[in-house]
Amino acid sequence: MKAFSYERARSPQQAAAVVAANPEARFIAGGTNLIDLMKLQIEAPRHLVDVQDLDLHRIEAKEDGGLRIGALVSNTALATDERIRRDYGAVARAIMAGASGQLRNKATTAGNLLQRTRCPYFYDTAQRCNKRAPGSGCAAIEGFSRGLGVIGTSEHCIATYPGDMAVALRLFETVVETVDAEGAVRMIPLAEFHRLPGTTPERDTVLEQGEFITAVHLGPPPEGRQFYQKVRDRASYAFALVSVAALLRPDGTGRVAFGGVAPRPWRVEEAEELLPQGARAVTDRAFRDARPTAGNAFKLPLATRTLAYVMAQAKG
């Protein structure tokens, strides 16, 4: 961890201005991801703007029937909120399937969206990694890639977005609200929020330096039963090998997003249209352009079978 200076934000715009003006500055919310990365000098900010005092801890009803979730609402608070549990059950279940109780108490909604990949080479500073050290290469492609991405990847990076909550959020009309140094508000659909790596895997999202997340908006609750099925090698406290978030209606239509497979929550609308034809039709389409490694090709049949499991539960 490099020595850093520290201040507490007074307003979202002020925080944004400080971080925008200093490329070596970062926001810190719960700190559960950022501090780990700082200890290993994967991130080495020289200035931290602690945003925890900002008034962004509320979940508010919106006129359209949706919800506005403050950026600092903790994962625990979000997963236990009555409205979330009733109308957005997949989100509650996704959060509860992640991390541990202690971490969820500390982790925030915005921080969760921005958690970085769990690629093991990203975590070892002696290894080549384009995401951590742009241009150094990618050690994972030829290496141990069991947990890494099968689709949306590039020859520069095959890492996944590891989180759970964002996968479930993809089922709804979810929009990320940000503010910049000038106070300009931007509404970014979650579908466009996480970037595919292409030639610049060092950028995980479309956020600009200093752009500050103030809230996450959920559209009105849709019809249908909701599911979040997370598959992993141990029963708890592990990232997903594959996860499936699904919204399934009695007529066999619905929405599906996959986690653990791509640099962002993976939802393909054209694939969802095939839901009435069964799980395999959906995953064949959703993963049509998949480029797995020998070590992670099992994620494709696993995604199919996990979706089939969810669809069977919807019927049963």
């Binding site: 093991p120 500073t125 141990r234 799980a279």
Partner: protein, 744 residues
């Protein structure tokens, strides 16, 4: 010295008023309240402590070209950067142990290349990241050989990079195997494993007047003292090792590691105490691990199930001159059978050093042998429990004149089958279901040798009539404090609460230490010897015939007198020290421990996820000195067995040559949600051949066979036979019930 060369007769331990009782740990409250100080927490034992942060090599093989430490040295707070160029004289052991501080040659990934010493941990760590180290890479070998089907090196055959290390034959295996009416031939693979004990390696080192003192995390105080003396070329008496509390080891702390050596080197160099703890990402490549194995098992049997031919061959990896993982050793002794072959090869690998981990040999070996037995039972159409009973032996199969001292494996099997409800197991795999889950039961036998080794202790009768026990024995979370207190209390007739136990200090008598499941039996036997001596001294003081003396309720009674122990002590405490040594009873008799493990598993028919539902282990391990601490050893072992079977694997990057998933996010060990109902039953059969305590080891037995029982349960649940550990869902997906409508 007490020589144990005849089977134990009746002695005060047999009373079992204190020994054998399920006493809670006497050190428990110190741990739960944070008062037990582990090595890194000894903040106040010596002033002026500095912090060392270890830097590991970023390549697996090659040479250091240069280390530029200028930026690190300029960092405020940094005191010194220790590298091979300035570390001062040391003599490394060699012989398969890589140098604790590399240079210029690099022998494995994360081998230490520098230690940054600073006034604070943060400065040391920051300094570490400022080092600029350049290397010349060299190619290396990082994977066990891939052998084509039908190809396996003959027992004594050497191949490039593959050395025969141990082989043993009885009768004529090949002929018997060819003639056997029922045969099984299979290969199995176990993975590289990390000990993953809770406390990482940690040391505070301090030099004064040419003497070295270390507060360190070690299982073996005596070994640590001897190793350090050799390294630094000083007398053993000039090294003091202090390790009162150790947060687990599982073999990782049998030998000293880089934390101890570099802390001592650095302390010598900077003239101040230096403390070093390895970070978790460093533990896995910098220190040791259990090697992966390839194993080949061939079993030939008569139609009634009697084994006529048993062959078990294995390959493990290690650095040149290192030791192999003796995965075939139990196969020499577990079952009857006239024709036998066991052989190990070692592949020379440039991975970090492989070394002992809980139940070295048996743990991976039984994960193959006991699955092969399950496969044989199926081929015979026989119940797996019955097959094992039919092949029980009461003597060493290679030498019928050499009986087992005590062997109650059959009772373990029968008791376990009965208590577990084994008869409800479906004999057709893949036919029991609970909704989305496929259910199955599996079992395996467990075997682990009992090792006897000399051990010494001191016991003092204090002025207030209380007792103090001193020995350099360690308690690595196992319960040594408690069973030693129980032993002293039993022998001298003093209440348990009046016994103080002081452990883990090289100034105390040399004990057997913790490892190889030898600690409990030998360390208590050493204390038994000291207690016998103290009793004799007391009798002599009182002129009381020893045969008549009764020690109970804090007093000695005999020859018509009763004397309170407290009254015996005048000015100075009465101190007795002694050592137990062993004759040849472990040669004339095979001493071992036995278990039967039973598992019920559920496998998700859609995803292949495994959830265990029940586990039972029945253990035959001599007298159980404390059923509570012993049970926790077995439960811990069963849990470790779940890890080996289902998730633990140090994944090798076969190009770069290192364990990639080197933290506890990537290297998954079981969490509570993975644990089912776990039950342990001890058959209490004291073994008079093992020691006056009539106890044997239990801390490793619990692991031996668990993985195979899980594998067999998965097979019974699914009909899918997995032979490569860990048994993760990727291996099952293609063979689970098909998705075609109406779904699985």
């Amino acid at each position: 010295m007490m020589k144990f060369d005849r089977p134990a007769e009746r002695n005060p331990i047999d009373d079992q008023t204190v020994v054998g009782q399920p006493t809670s740990r006497i050190d428990g409250a110190l741990k739960t309240t944070g008062q037990a100080r582990y090595a890194y927490e000894q903040h106040d034992v010596v002033p002026d402590q500095t912090y060392g942060y270890l830097v590991g090599a970023g390549i697996a093989r090659g040479r250091i070209r240069a280390i530029d430490s200028r930026a690190a040295r300029d960092l405020p707070g940094v005191i010194e950067v220790i590298t091979w160029e300035n570390a001062g004289d040391v003599t490394y052991p060699g012989g398969g142990t890589p140098d604790y501080l590399a240079g210029p040659e690099i022998q494995h990934y994360h081998q230490a290349v520098a230690l940054v010493v600073a006034e604070s941990f943060e400065a040391a760590r920051d300094g570490a990241f400022l080092l600029e180290i350049s290397y010349d890479r060299a190619p290396g070998r990082y994977a066990l050989p891939s052998l084509a089907e039908g190809d396996w090196p003959a027992p004594d055959e050497a191949r490039e990079g593959l050395e025969p290390v141990d082989s043993d034959t009885v009768g004529d295996f090949e002929a018997a195997f060819a003639a056997a009416p029922v045969r099984i031939e299979q290969r199995y693979q176990t993975s590289h494993e990390s000990h993953a004990m809770m406390e990482p390696h940690a040391t505070i080192a301090h030099w004064a007047d040419g003497r070295l003192t270390l507060w360190t995390a070690t299982q073996m105080v005596g070994w640590a003292q001897r190793s350090l003396a050799r390294l630094f070329g000083i007398e053993k008496s000039d090294v003091r090792v202090i390790a009162p509390y150790v947060g687990g080891g599982f073999g990782a702390k049998l030998a000293i590691q880089s934390d101890a050596v570099l802390a001592a080197m650095a302390a010598r160099k900077v003239g101040r105490p230096v403390k070093v703890a390895l970070t978790r990402p460093m533990v896995m490549n910098n220190t040791t691990h259990r090697s992966a194995t390839l194993q080949r098992v061939r079993l030939g049997a008569e139609r009634d199930g009697r084994l006529t031919a048993i062959a078990h061959q294995g390959i493990s990896g290690n650095l040149a001159e290192g030791r192999h993982e003796p995965a075939v050793s139990q196969t020499k002794l577990l079952y009857a059978g006239a024709n036998r072959l066991t052989a190990m090869h070692m592949a020379i690998l440039d991975l970090p050093k492989a070394s002992d981990m809980r139940a070295p040999g048996e743990a991976p070996g039984l994960m193959a042998l006991e699955v092969a037995m399950d496969e044989l039972a199926e081929a015979l159409g026989m119940d797996p429990v019955e097959l094992r009973i039919r092949n029980d032996t009461q003597s060493d199969p290679a030498d019928p004149e050499r009986p087992f001292s005590e062997r109650h494996l059959v009772e373990c099997l029968r008791t376990g089958a009965e208590r577990f409800g084994w008869s409800e197991r479906s004999t057709t795999p893949g036919t029991r279901r609970d909704g989305d889950w496929l259910l199955g039961m599996g079992m395996a036998a467990g075997y682990r040798d009992n090792l006897v080794r000399q051990s010494a202790a001191r016991i003092r009768l204090e002025q207030d009539g209380s007792l103090t026990v001193e020995t350099d024995m360690t308690d690595i979370g196992t319960g040594s404090y408690t069973i030693l207190a129980q032993t002293a209390a039993e022998m001298l007739g003093v209440p348990l609460g009046r016994v103080a136990v002081r452990l883990g200090d090289s100034d105390f008598p040399l004990s057997v230490g913790s490892g190889g499941q030898w600690g409990a039996n030998n360390a208590t036997a050493g204390l038994y010897a000291a207690c016998v001596r103290l009793r004799a001294m007391i009798c002599e003081m009182l002129q009381m015939p020893e045969a008549e003396a009764q020690f109970a309720d804090g007093a000695v009674t005999g020859a018509g007198r009763r004397v309170e122990l407290a009254e015996l002590v005048r000015d100075e405490a009465i101190s007795a020290e002694d050592r137990i040594e062993y004759g040849d009873l472990d040669e004339t008799h095979q001493q071992a421990t036995f278990a039967a493990h039973f598992v019920e598993a559920a496998v998700n028919a859609w995803t292949g996820e495994v959830r265990l539902r029940r586990m039972l282990s029945v253990c035959d391990a001599g007298r159980i000195l404390n059923p509570k601490t012993a049970r926790s050893q077995v439960i811990g072992s069963m849990t470790m067995g779940i890890g080996s079977a289902l998730m633990e694997e140090l994944a090798v990057d076969a190009g770069a040559g290192f364990f990639v998933n080197h933290d506890l996010a990537g290297y998954e060990v079981p969490v509570h949600a993975d644990l089912p109902e776990q039950e342990v039953i001890f058959l209490d059969h004291p073994d008079a051949f093992s020691s006056p305590m009539k106890a044997k080891g239990v801390g490793e037995l619990g692991l031996c066979g668990v993985g195979a029982a899980i594998a067999n349960a998965l097979y019974n649940a699914t009909g899918i036979r997995l032979r490569e550990y860990p048994l993760t869902l990727d291996g099952m997906l293609e063979r689970l019930p098909p998705l075609a409508p109406p779904g699985p």
